[in-house]
């Protein structure tokens, strides 16, 4: 329950107790809450959450306490193991739920009800309780019992159709970025906090039903239909559209020569530079003049014939670190395709103090974690503790369910 506030909060959410009864579907939302100060108890089955059994592992040795995938999404949480198939443990969970502000869960629709742990059952004696349920397709609807996976969500969310290469020899491709669980995490976070805002006004909690499928569908811009109600095929990316706009440099690295010319002077600068580099086509001056007069300079790719090839010719003589700043100086957002881990060398992120060293006492060292997504002028984001070992906080259970309300 919300504590009284006699002192200045250290973090925005440090008055909240959250139970996370979930795995891939809830871990990111739980982490976002925990990193802003909420006390998040991850309730795991005795063998540990599924994410603990998924690689990559430290030293590539499978160990539920050494999954880097688990580490990545479980900072600041405590771990309690409970066997929900056992009545005694369900009773413990019910007592915990009496004290909780928020429960996150990702079981199949209806499963918690069969255990006597559904929202109506738990909120009967804790009307302020918020329960955020994250499921593949939502709590209702003809596909509510379908099974999902990151690839399935990419496909049915309309993302995969545009992924991969225009060359038909490869199927549509999903990036190894788990956008589905990110999107579901973001949206369930929004929903949870919106319910909290409602509770701050009314005192009443509620259930928040989030569908991973729908979270992915939201990302697809093509299905925002244009006016009047008709499908505008032009806004749907065709397969390979992203690959076709990357250019290879001398060092084998690629960059994206993004051409967002709302300002025609950018065009002029680019053409001048390509002239200096000796790769300009003779027709461009005239074309550019005409396009500018007609105000036909488009939002995205260049209508100047051969301009991408010309940039490619220059790129073949330069490294990616040389060419991207040239674009930036012209007002063009040219950007290297970094490997994710190369960001630790990024000057801007370094300046902003983004990466965090987090102590892992049992390994006698610290490791580098991604940092804050937002910088609050007060009461903001912080890593207080590394991800929990399995069952590390079991001994705190009695203190949690005993005490004032016990």
């Amino acid at each position: 329950m919300t504590k009284s506030t006699s002192t200045v909060p250290e973090q925005c959410l440090d008055d909240l107790l959250v139970l996370e009864l979930g795995d891939e579907g809830t871990q990111y939302c739980g982490q976002l809450l925990a990193d802003m100060g909420a006390r998040v108890l991850k309730i795991e089955p005795p063998k540990g959450a599924g994410a603990r059994h998924r690689g990559p592992f430290k030293d590539d040795k499978p160990d539920p306490n050494c999954s880097l995938y688990f580490w990545a999404y479980n900072t600041n949480k405590e771990s309690l193991t409970l066997d929900l198939s056992a009545e005694a443990d369900r009773r413990k969970l019910k007592r915990l739920a009496q004290k909780a502000d928020i429960i996150l869960e990702d079981f199949s629709p209806g499963y918690l009800e069969t255990l006597g742990l559904g929202y109506d059952q738990l909120s009967a004696t804790n009307p302020g309780l918020i329960m955020t349920s994250v499921t593949p397709f939502g709590q209702t609807g003809p596909l509510k019992d379908w099974k999902g996976s990151d690839l399935v969500y990419w496909a049915m969310g309309g993302i995969l159709a545009g992924g991969g290469y225009s060359d038909a020899s490869t199927p549509p491709l999903a990036a190894q970025a788990e956008l589905s669980y990110l999107a579901a995490g973001h949206w369930s976070f929004v929903g949870t906090l919106m319910a909290l805002a409602g509770r701050d006004i009314s005192g009443e909690g509620q259930q928040v039903d989030t569908s991973i499928h729908e979270a992915c569908s939201y990302v697809n811009r093509g299905s925002i239909t244009s006016f009047p109600i008709q499908f505008d095929a032009k806004v749907a990316p065709s397969r390979g559209s992203a690959a076709n706009t990357s250019i290879r440099c001398k060092d084998g690295k690629y960059f994206i020569p993004q051409m967002t010319f709302t300002n025609p002077t950018h065009w002029g600068r680019l053409v001048e530079w390509l002239k200096e580099e000796g790769v300009a086509r003779p027709s461009w001056d005239e074309d550019l003049k005409r396009l500018t007069e007609e105000k036909a300079v488009t939002q995205f790719m260049a209508p100047l014939e051969g301009i991408m090839e010309a940039i490619g010719e220059v790129a073949a003589r330069m490294t990616v670190e040389e060419i991207c700043p040239i674009g930036q100086k012209m007002g063009l957002t040219w950007m290297v395709f970094n490997a994710p881990d190369e960001l630790v060398e990024d000057e801007q992120l370094k300046y902003r103090g983004f990466f965090q060293e987090v102590q892992h006492p049992e390994h006698n060292t610290s490791y580098t974690y991604a940092g804050e997504p937002y910088r609050f002028s007060k009461a903001g984001w912080k890593i207080r503790r590394r991800p929990p070992l399995l069952g590390e906080d079991n001994s705190r259970l009695n203190e949690l369910i005993g005490g004032r309300h016990g």
Binding site: V8, P9, R54, G55, L68, W71, A72, G141, P142, K147, L151, Y153, A155, M156, I159, L160, G162, G164, A168, T170, P171, P172, L173, A175, A177, L179, H186, W187, F189, V190, G191, M194, G198, D200, Q206, Q207, V208, T210, H213, E214, R221, S223, F231, S241, A243, S246, R248, Y254, I256, Q328, T333, F337, D341, L343, Q348, R352, F355, T368, S377, A379
Partner: protein, 391 residues
Amino acid sequence: MVAGSAATRILAGFGAESIRLEWPDPPAFDSGREIHWNCDKLSLSLNMRHPKALDLAKRVVASSDIFTESMRPGTIGNLGLDYETVRAVKPNIIYLSMSGWGQDGPHRDWGSYGASSAAHSGLAFLGGMPDLPPCGLPVAYADESPPWLAASAILMALHHRRRTGEGMHIDMAQTQVAATFTRHFHLDRSVNGRSARREGFPAGNTREYPPSAPHNAFPCRGNDTWCVIAVTRDEEWEGLKEAMGNASSAADPKYDSAEGRFKHRRELEGLLAEWTRTFERFHLAAVLQDHGVPAGPVESAFDLAEFDVQLAHRGTFHLYPNPDRGPGRHKISVPRLLKTPHQPKRGIPNIGQDNAYVLHTLLGLSNADIDALAADGVIRFPERSGVAGGV
């Protein structure tokens, strides 16, 4: 810019009175997406180049709880609405700045867009085949998702304000948000010294954590139509074999374990493709799901709006009116709050449509004052809807 307006659209959908300060000249980039981000909002047209505009803007801000801006760092200060100034007129304001790179640092003046931010963060690097250029992300995830975190940040600041009475400033950067999306790759480097820039990675739809096979998009009947199948567990494989009528080709014991299936995945996926080709994609997905196999049709944007029975059931698309353009279909916010749901009460405003409501009802200006502001060119009413308020 997208980020601020998409965040406040979420708040507007759940009942916040969200006022967009905008000016029709030069015209805003007028895509379906931008309109999407203005659903459920009010519009006040305000010519910030006019000397009388700033005072009016401050009066609007003084009656507000939340202020968001997504201009290049420094620009909002040039307009006279930086955090310190706004705080002087509204001490407990929650003020959120969204930019490409953040309010400080060596790259704060760089540009940033969805695709460039996806490239910078490494998200785009993670798509593709070995020896081919990265195929990136087919969606602007680095455009779409920062607003969701921005809305969340505002709600957390609001909770803080309820506890303490204090407002605050929140500094968000698109590139920094995107840098949080590739978390376990940072750890793999820090802990194991392994970079994602390595031979053979990424390898299309292959997933080694956990070893998954078959795990790919498979061709179906018709031109360029596909169904994905994502098998990880043994029981899913058993279900798949059953769906295939226990075909002898799949009965080979080398496929009995996840490791075996992963090791022989090319061969396995090849024989599976021969079978999937005979099916229509939606039908195949339903058959497989009936057997407990994670599978789904590869849907186009058009399919989502027209053929996805689940989205239709959930009411994902809502018809939003707009005075000039007629109705258009836009998605509502994803989480369903069972007691206080997203309510698409308003349509999409024309620029300046709600001038009368904001200036008269909220700020208490007289009709004569408002007429004078319009005559001075400080505000402009939309041509078609005249002075009619938006409420």
